[in-house]
Symmetry: C2
Subunit: 249 residues, 2 copies
């Protein structure tokens, strides 16, 4: 399963490459970076400054390098263009999007990655980046997005909603330590509806491996109320049985 291709053989291949022998494809990665800001599920969008779709909003992304793994390419874009570190976020592949007409320049297949990140206090844009902004997914005008990014974003949001049902990944949206209410607000933002605080508390605390109680018993409440207990992420990877969203009977 190891390749015998090397840098030099890659060069030889390039030199002898005939674009009519097989059609050249470009492969890109797009990143659907989601977070919860002010009780709203938001996505990071950048404004394009080059053809095509110049001036339109788009998901961060770019070409995959010749010897770069797909996920590495996505993580590189994530860290360079958004300032999010890989270790603090959850990254998973969303899927490949390859409609022949999705890019007017040439045939491009894009592999989309879905990232859950906590709402970082620092302004997220990294070094060499054009205009970048968090946009609540409900405020995104689908017609203004570049390429087929409306479809990619839609798939990412739906995947996120489904993943909260049967995984503990909601914890990827909050910081290192958090309260049950923090977690509940993530669910409410992603699913778009209120949840019963008592039943939610019973479910998440009753699921082994979801929450790890941290000794420190209490921070303060921003607007009154009894201080909540602090937790850390557990090592559970799935929720069985799942926590089903209410409106989807």
């Amino acid at each position: 399963m190891t390749a015998d291709r090397t840098e030099s053989s890659q060069e030889a291949f390039l030199a002898s490459y005939d674009p009519h022998a097989f059609p050249p494809f470009a492969v890109t990665v797009d990143v659907v970076l989601l977070t919860v800001r002010e009780h709203e599920l938001s996505v990071l969008l950048v404004e394009r400054d080059t053809h095509p779709f110049r001036g339109r909003l788009a998901l961060p992304g770019g070409f995959v390098q010749p010897d770069e793994d797909l996920e590495s390419a996505a993580v590189r874009r994530l860290e360079r263009e958004t300032g999010v570190r890989r270790s603090t976020a959850h990254v998973e592949q969303l899927g490949a999007f390859g409609d022949p007409a999705r890019d007017p320049r040439m045939r491009v297949v894009s592999v989309a990655y879905l990232v859950f990140a906590p709402d970082l206090p620092a302004p997220v844009p990294g070094a060499r980046t054009r205009s970048v902004a968090w946009v609540p997914v409900g405020d995104v005008d689908p017609a203004t997005l570049a390429f087929d990014h409306e479809q990619v974003l839609g798939a990412g949001v739906e995947r996120a909603r489904a993943k909260l049902e049967y995984t503990p990944l909601a914890a990827a949206f909050v910081g290192d330590t958090f309260t049950v209410a923090d977690l509940r607000r993530v669910y409410e933002a992603v699913w778009g509806g209120a949840l019963d605080p008592r039943n939610f508390h019973r479910k998440v605390t009753g699921t082994p491996g979801f929450l790890l109680p941290v000794g420190r018993p209490a921070p303060v409440g921003p607007e009154g109320g009894r201080p909540a207990a602090l937790f850390r992420r557990g090592d559970a990877t799935s929720l069985r049985p799942a926590m089903l969203r209410p409106g989807s009977a």
Copy 2:
């Protein structure tokens, strides 16, 4: 969102293409075609007759054409190489596999598709095809598969097992009309364990939209027993709550 690229501009692009401007990628599709044969979950494998991995077993697949949609490319391979018609099967994208070393010839990104098909009585191989065979997934020797197809197959099987839990897609593995026992044998083959016939019957018949009773009340039993009622697929797309596999608590 409409492309201005045409056939002639594609030609112009090819003529002026410089392989050093951006690295050429090849894009392929691989098909994980699963069925249930003789109470065993099986995958369709072909024997490669060209370099690389000549003589090794591999998933059916091939290069995507310049103006071909990814799913169309997968369905084309499915129909040409396996004889399975798209209308009788379930097709979904499994994911993209793009390890730089997965193909020794050059950089190849493969988009894998997962297909559920009923066990057709006709010999499945199509017209121009090399040696092709159904192999029970438990009998596949992982080390003998070409490329990274062990990883692709593993992802497909795990996806199939999960999908049976929360979708009615098990019906894609059986024919047009089927009995509850047929469906149960699908679950047992995919999950690899026995299920209680009475509880299974209660669950599937009690889920609205899973099964449509067909008037014809009874076929015959192959080895005795009371004749079972016949059903057709319903229009439900998800199972809520899910049917969880026993061993996964």
